[in-house]
Point group: C2
Chain length 232, copies 2
DNA sequence: CGCCGATTTGAGAGCTTTCAAACTTTGTGG
DNA sequence: CCACAAAGTTTGAAAGCTCTCAAATCGGCG
């Protein structure tokens, strides 16, 4: 386990507050591994043997039932996933595959649970993480159930615009097909949403986006912190 | 605060493990209140001043955006809700109204946070609760995104059947319009789902249900613990 | 240049919602 | 006990949104 990877993991909120000694204990049992694109990491129903941290690349978490499949979440660096299942030692509810070449740190769930019991700063960080995940899931459900595809994409653009610091042109950080999955729609529908937003000041050329009339876009998107603010 | 109410609250997993002294501290600042049907308890965006516990009745948690509304969750006795917002002191993501005459215990969030800091058994119970909520939200998302209305209702019937101890006739515990909301569909669609299940051994008369061919129903419903088992 | 994958476009089908109206149930007051 | 009003439920028709399938187009890369 290289020091750089350790530092990456230590940097996220979930691990930054805990005692050095306990962090070291977690790292002792940890694996680091590089995966090619589209590698199956685990399947829903598997036991949660490891807490996963994406250090580089991207991981799609998806669910399957009766031959149908849906993307639930996409994990980007640097963040942890399947925290809840690891802690509760419960079966995984989602399957996971890499979307590109990815570097993961795997922490044995048993170690995580043990350190959780003895390190109260870590325990508090876990609570923060779980609360954040739960509220994220709620916001996601609101996004999907209260907005149609066009509105979801419009709000995504405004979110990106804010993140890019307000520049009126920026670049989509994902392939469109993956963006579509992230927004719970098909690539075809994303394509139609893009076209439908042209009259509202949205110009898309490949991955390049230009917002020429933000007022119009906001009028249509009606963003609200209760859905769109990840920190709220 | 009557001892009966105290006992009710103490009985749920979230509060059963904590030190008596700390529980007493929580109860000291608590309110108990009876609400008539369809009383607004709070609105999304409000500060989470109180952790709520339903002792009797039922509470609908719903979300609103741009004139549209969707039921997110229905809380029944005895259970806590808005745990995450209380702990993080974050704005509420859902609005709440009583569905019937209801009795609630309100615990000031400040007290909850304080006790959370000093009582590690409570903290652990909080983690369990949050993990359970989060996984519940995931299962819900899978249910809605992977199944159509008919399949959701079919699986609901099988879940009730299990809860009722396997009797082939039982009674729906909710009004149909609320059941529809709980299953994320309109009352009209629930009505159609009921009719569509007749050829699969489902007889519904008012609130009375009779399952005459469970094998057929299971063939259609394809229940899986990864969506339908609340404890998994 | 030519292939391969991603994206776009069009057509059609499926599921869900909405609206309106008929029907049933429930509860109240005469 | 009945009549009536109010609310809940069912049914039908129509529209909207999303998905699927197929084909055309665009793009990068060997």
């Amino acid at each position: 386990m290289k020091p750089e990877d350790c530092a990456e993991v230590r940097g996220i909120a979930l691990f930054s507050d805990m005692a050095e000694e306990n962090f070291a204990r977690l790292m002792r049992g940890a694996y680091v591994q590089n995966f090619p694109p589209f590698t199956q990491l685990f399947e829903q129903g598997d036991p949660a043997d490891f807490l996963h941290v994406v250090v580089a690349g991207g991981v799609e978490l998806y669910a399957v039932w009766s031959g149908r499949e849906t993307t639930m979440y996409v994990a980007y660096p640097v963040s942890a996933f399947i925290v809840a299942a690891s802690l509760k030692d419960a079966p995984l509810l989602m399957s996971a595959r890499t979307l590109e070449r990815s570097r993961l740190v795997l922490l044995p769930s048993q170690d995580v649970r043990e350190v959780f019991r003895i390190d109260h700063d870590f325990a508090r960080a876990v609570v923060d993480e779980l609360a954040h995940c739960y509220r994220g899931a709620l916001k996601d459900a609101k996004n999907v159930r209260l907005r149609n595809a066009q509105e979801r994409f419009a709000n995504y653009l405004l979110k990106r615009w804010r993140i890019e610091g307000g520049a009126d042109t920026f670049t989509l950080p994902l392939e469109k097909r993956r963006l579509a999955a992230k927004l719970s729609m098909t690539p075809e529908n994303l394509s139609r949403a893009i076209r439908a937003l042209q009259p509202h000041g949205v110009e898309v050329d490949g991955a390049k986006v230009r917002l020429t009339d933000r007022a119009a876009l906001e009028k249509l998107a009606r963003p609200t912190p209760l859905i769109d603010d990840p920190h709220c």
